[in-house]
Symmetry: C2
Subunit: 497 residues, 2 copies
Amino acid sequence: MAGQKEMGSGVEWKIRVADGSSETLAPQAAGLAGRVWLGLKNMIAGFVLKVWRFLEKAWDLGADDPRKVIHCLKVGIALTVVSLFYYMRPLYDGVGGNAMWAVMTVVVVFENTVGATLYKCLNRVFGTILAGLLAVGVHWVAVHSGEKFEPLIIGVSVFILASAATFSRFIPSVKARFDYGTMIFILTFSLVAVSGYRVDKLFDLAHQRLSTIIIGTSLCIIVGMVVCPIWAGRELYSLINRNMDKLANSLEGYAAEYFNQSEEEAHKKLLDYKCILNSKATEESMANFARWEPAHGRFNFRHPWKQYLKIGAAMRSCAYCIEALNGCINSANQGPEFIKKHLSSSCLKVSSDSSSVIKELAKIIKTMTKSSTIDLLVGEMNNAVEDLQNDLKTLSGLFNPEDETPENNNETQKTSLKTTTEIPLLGVISVVTFASLLIEIASRIEAVVEEVEKLANLAEFQVMDQCKSKQNQASTEIVPADDQNDEDNTIKTLEKV
Amino acid sequence: MAGQKEMGSGVEWKIRVADGSSETLAPQAAGLAGRVWLGLKNMIAGFVLKVWRFLEKAWDLGADDPRKVIHCLKVGIALTVVSLFYYMRPLYDGVGGNAMWAVMTVVVVFENTVGATLYKCLNRVFGTILAGLLAVGVHWVAVHSGEKFEPLIIGVSVFILASAATFSRFIPSVKARFDYGTMIFILTFSLVAVSGYRVDKLFDLAHQRLSTIIIGTSLCIIVGMVVCPIWAGRELYSLINRNMDKLANSLEGYAAEYFNQSEEEAHKKLLDYKCILNSKATEESMANFARWEPAHGRFNFRHPWKQYLKIGAAMRSCAYCIEALNGCINSANQGPEFIKKHLSSSCLKVSSDSSSVIKELAKIIKTMTKSSTIDLLVGEMNNAVEDLQNDLKTLSGLFNPEDETPENNNETQKTSLKTTTEIPLLGVISVVTFASLLIEIASRIEAVVEEVEKLANLAEFQVMDQCKSKQNQASTEIVPADDQNDEDNTIKTLEKV
């Protein structure tokens, strides 16, 4: 700014000369020109760098999840088709009138998942029909009650219906299923009721508008379902699968980290559980959209999507406990090594057993077959929990030298315990907290097991052995191999959503 | 169904007779008629009951938060005004053309909070302008490149721009600020590019469309800001305040519950913290909308809204730990009474001190003044934590009868300890876990304190004493009394959102 001001008051001339002969300039002028040039260069470089970073980020986004790019191309295709369709004017005369509703429908209705698109399409069509009929009725009444009352009736009806419909959008059950339809209802009702047309012309108009909307929605549904469809139901299913794997990883990782047996691999996965803490909103919207979807892949029309929400909630309750484990790891009062050692094997056993249970649950969901080993694994986990509780009991022996001491409590340790008699329990707190949180997590995992078993019953998963024997009888309807691969790919590509 | 069929084949007649003389009917017919009547009655009653319950729920919703009702009335007013405005046709000829954009704008743009409305209005206006200019340019090029190339150029440009714009909606920074604008951009671009009009007519059209949109958005902004405005910023502020109170309540409640000192009042508030676990999405959207709002109440235009998100995250981290406390309360291994008693006073002290700190933080935010006592309270909380740690230390003395025993460990207790030497530590686990989670919570509260202090610096809160002395000098600009009351009312009415 200061440089620019000086430039304006005479120094500017020097700079112009400088274009031809920069060597002859006085140092001050060269400095000024240089500074201006530098400033400009920096500004441009900064701008280019910013744009470059933005593009880089966008590229990463696309590379991480190519399905997003495919979705964009799908929108492009649908919109180009509908645009050119009307540009060529084979059906109506010009775009000014109703044809724009088809273009608008495609823009507004095309969503990432099939379920969301269907939800918006059906809401749009039925919202329009309902509001149109009602508006034609009100319009008829208004026209027949004389010039004076006409605007009054229309005004009052718009006011009442718009207010009531807006209010209904606050009601959770309406919001979940008909939020968009309600908005379209208000829109169509006001437009039709307010239009100055005669009722017989209105029917023509309504017919045209509805047909253009149906053309738009059909196009969206066809493109959405035919070109690389993304099903909300499968997204939800993959999300739950992914979160289960993450829960298992985090659980193993934390125990390993706490007892210093963490490998680099495990350390990376430590914070995987954080995703679960915040996935509630995504799960709910996916479940809402999934129920609009027809049967696809291995999912029926009436697949119990709501049960996935319960599984998600149960997993989240585990994740909260893992978040509390975090505190133990960062705690300044790390327990003395020998006590940690005393509990490490049983703690690690509990964590690895619980994580096996979760992995088995993930397998149940992935293969959509009931597991014959899950009860065994839960039993093992509970045994590990009991062992841990026993180890905690023997820990009390450590504090009571008169008792018989457990095997891994040798003379030196006892001495160190006696000399530092003030520290032990305080030092032990972190280990005991860690262990008891593990026990709590194990009990919360049982809740997850229950929810998954409910899902297996509701969705009528087959028992693994039955399934195998059926497959041997050349029936591949339950887990077709390529669908399975497809599923794995989906999960991989979803990894970074 | 079966009953209806039988009715059709002769039995119907008997029923008609029954209307006059029900006593004379054969028992079977009476049974049938009765059953049909009962079925119908039940169906109608069921339907009426369902509708009644729905209305009841809706009524409760409105009674709990009258601002929702006000919002609906506001939408009704805005829509009626714009509808009648066009119904009277003072500006344009008929609604068929561009006037509908004004109605549509009001329906689509009017949101619950001022911030959301402003966000949508500005996005709509600028999205339309940008897309309109670009589309006119593309249209001009297409028209001038001959009949053959015209549809090709238009199709390709629609495809590329629609795909690119759709992709940009996936980029988080674009999504947060310009999601709606991008959609409007795609919509306007396709509509204008595809329209068969000549360029000079297009300018007329664009002018009309833009002016109707501006009329619609202005009406929304005026009604939204003048009639009982709901500010997204204030909503966020109240949400954080409310959550802080809930955190304090839950914390106190849990300690009281665990040590059986819970009053009925406290028990009700126990699960208040659950709201905090799931408030992330609301907080983020409110913060996103708040930055579009002009200065209002005690908030400047550039109020540091993002800092509230950090405070929210810090509080959530506390809430996760409280969720883990839950496990201790439900734990089967409740510690023996005398050990619980040993720790109860210090645990209760920690919980009440932490909750005082949170209450003081809430006060800082509510009054928007720096507190002079917060450091003192944090110090007290830390002292209480130290006392608790000391009590945990003396607990180790309980296991070591050679040590001097603390005062509240009398002879009988020692005996009971010795006889049940296997149980204590296992029984103690729950208490120790509870205590160490309390300690962890206290340390997480310090993180909340830090974030609130950052907010106080960023938003330039005044020191309480300065503030008072200023007020004594008849300057009421900082905490005007009625604004304060207004705030309290807002918080009260928001209580059930």
